[in-house]
């Protein structure tokens, strides 16, 4: 292995455009397209990328360590700050993990509302991804259309729990808030509009030859590589692996609803784009099915004011918008977790960056960072 790396280095040195040293370009931590404070060191030969090195940790806040000094309820708002564009999904994963540790289950009504909100959050997360990804590739307009639709979702969140971004929408054991009057109508109206709106993005991008040229065969990651690198979510599905925890290990209320898992074939940037677009459509369908019939009943399960799980450990993972989000919680029988380990999808997916852009051009770097759909709050935690 070491030999191969060394050979690689030597060959890279021989290959450079004019035999001069490689140009080392420091992309980030303050760069318009690294989506936060990611820093990528690029070794360039002309414009061709010969190697990359990711430098992360600029946003490290020690979320996992904080968990050890907070009670189970107190820690719940912290997970919202990881993937702050998909806070609801983070909360769902954490609440379900603790519920699993406590061996309680949320009531049906809570589960359905959780599902609706999580799917809306998936749409919102994908919309933000689509807008910024398109902006990275140079299409200015989709961003504003995406923001317009995302605004509608955020308004629903705001009406529901008072917060737009870091919602802390769920509680351990169920929900704190009953759904507000007109919740179903709001979601239904959004879903009905959204079908037409998504067509606008399709018109702007899907058939555009520049868009296809910029995304097709760029950042290819095949199924074997995905599995080897642990890449999950749309990246894995775009490579043709039909793996979605909502189907594979149903949680919340997903087993009640009909939906498809979109998969791609090549595992390139265009396929990931198509997969995410289709996921938005499927999420819309799930929401529509769910608001048809929200079961009545309690919204909070049998959980006491003081959460004190028996000593033990639990791992629970959900399909967050960006991939598999896992919580591993160890309890020592006190009110505070002994250890919380989080498996954030962005962090794991970011590993694939080097594999995906080696040999491509500088312009593809931003396209690939965009298509990975990373959030630095989650990468650095």
């Amino acid at each position: 292995m070491a030999d191969r790396v060394q050979d690689d280095v030597i060959r890279q040195q021989q290959e450079t455009l004019l035999g001069a040293d490689e140009l080392v370009l420091n992309m980030g931590p303050q760069h318009p397209s690294t989506h936060g404070v990611l820093r990528v060191k690029l070794k360039l030969d002309g414009e061709r990328v010969r190697g990359t090195e990711c430098v992360i940790g600029y946003l490290h806040r020690g979320v996992e360590k904080i968990a050890e000094n907070r009670t189970y309820q107190q820690f719940a708002p912290y997970v919202d700050r990881m993937d702050y564009v998909a806070a609801v999904s983070n909360g769902l994963g954490y609440c379900e993990a603790v519920e699993k540790l406590l061996s309680v289950e949320a009531p049906d009504r809570a589960k359905v509302i959780r599902t609706i909100l999580t799917e809306l959050q998936r749409i919102a997360s994908h919309l933000l991804w689509l807008g910024t990804h398109a902006l990275d590739i140079g299409a200015l307009t989709p961003l504003f259309y995406c923001m317009r639709e995302r605004e509608e979702i955020l308004k629903i969140f705001e009406k529901y729990c008072g917060a737009r971004l870091t919602t802390h929408a769920f509680r351990i054991g169920g929900l704190q808030y009953e759904s507000y009057d007109g919740f179903e109508q709001d979601v239904g109206r959004f879903c009905n509009d959204f079908e037409r709106r998504i067509q606008e993005y399709v018109d702007l991008l899907t058939g555009n030859s520049i868009w296809i040229g910029r995304t097709r065969n760029v950042g290819v990651l095949n199924a074997a590589d995905c599995i080897a690198l642990g890449a999950t979510g749309p990246i894995l599905r775009a490579a043709g692996v039909k793996w979605d925890l909502r189907k594979a290990q149903p949680y919340a209320a997903y087993e009640r609803y009909q939906f498809e898992i979109p998969v791609g074939t090549n595992g390139d940037t265009y396929d990931r784009y198509m997969v995410r677009m289709e996921e938005m459509r499927q999420s819309r369908l799930i929401c529509l099915q769910a608001i048809e019939n929200i079961p009545a009943g309690a919204i909070m399960g049998k959980v006491g004011k003081v959460i004190k799980p028996v000593p033990g450990e639990v791992y629970h993972s959900i399909e967050a918008p960006k991939g598999i989000l896992g919580y591993y919680i160890v309890s020592d029988g006190t009110t505070q977790p002994y250890r919380v380990r989080i498996r954030p999808p962005s962090f794991v997916n970011l590993q694939a960056l080097d594999k995906m852009i080696r040999g491509h051009l500088v312009a593809d770097v931003v396209a690939v960072i965009g298509t990975l759909d990373i959030v630095l709050g989650e990468v650095d935690r």
Binding site: R11, E15, L17, L18, A20
Partner: protein, 177 residues
């Protein structure tokens, strides 16, 4: 009056920046000063009522050749020339040779009795208003009397293009072919 102002203006800039071009150590500065020289020479062409050459000078020399030079200077990314002018001796020799050459040409010019130009065989210069339209006249001559040289020049450019591509492209990388 206007004529002489224009001439001295352009000639002054041309000579000054040519001298700076040769003496600047930074290659990019040299290139910039050469651009200035070429532009002022274009001005001289205009003053001589050679409009087409004036534009050709700007488009081909400044817009083409000099851009190529600057491109290459950027590509070869030299650090500041460390031991430029290692042989002071050489500079001396060069100045001597140039001086000798200058004196030689001057003597030849002066031998042609009085100041040059006055001693040359000169028909009376046509006034500006009587000149035929420059680009029409030039193209007529170029495509009638000088058609063969024109074609040869185009072949020369083709050869140069192929040669430059072959030179600059280098060996094909083994793993990419």
């Amino acid at each position: 009056m206007l004529d002489s102002i224009v001439f001295y203006f352009f000639a002054g800039i041309a000579v000054l920046s040519a001298a700076l071009m040769v003496t600047r150590r930074n290659v990019m500065h040299s290139a910039v000063f050469l651009v200035t020289t070429l532009l002022s020479i274009a001005g001289i062409f205009l003053q001589l009522r050679a409009e087409f050459l004036f534009v050709t000078q700007i488009i081909v020399y400044v817009g083409g050749i000099m851009v190529l030079f600057i491109f290459v200077i950027m590509l070869v990314r030299l650090d500041v020339p460390l031991h430029q002018m290692r042989f002071r001796f050489q500079r001396l020799v060069a100045l001597l040779v140039a001086f000798a050459l200058g004196v030689e040409v001057l003597v030849i010019l002066l031998l042609a009795r009085k100041l040059p130009g006055a001693g040359l065989f000169v028909q009376s210069t046509a006034p500006v208003s009587k000149l035929p339209p420059n680009s029409e006249e030039l193209s007529r001559t170029l495509f009638s009397n000088y058609l063969l040289p024109f074609e040869i020049a185009s072949v020369l450019l083709l050869v140069a293009m192929v040669g430059a591509v072959v030179m600059a492209k280098g060996r094909k990388r083994a793993d990419e072919s």
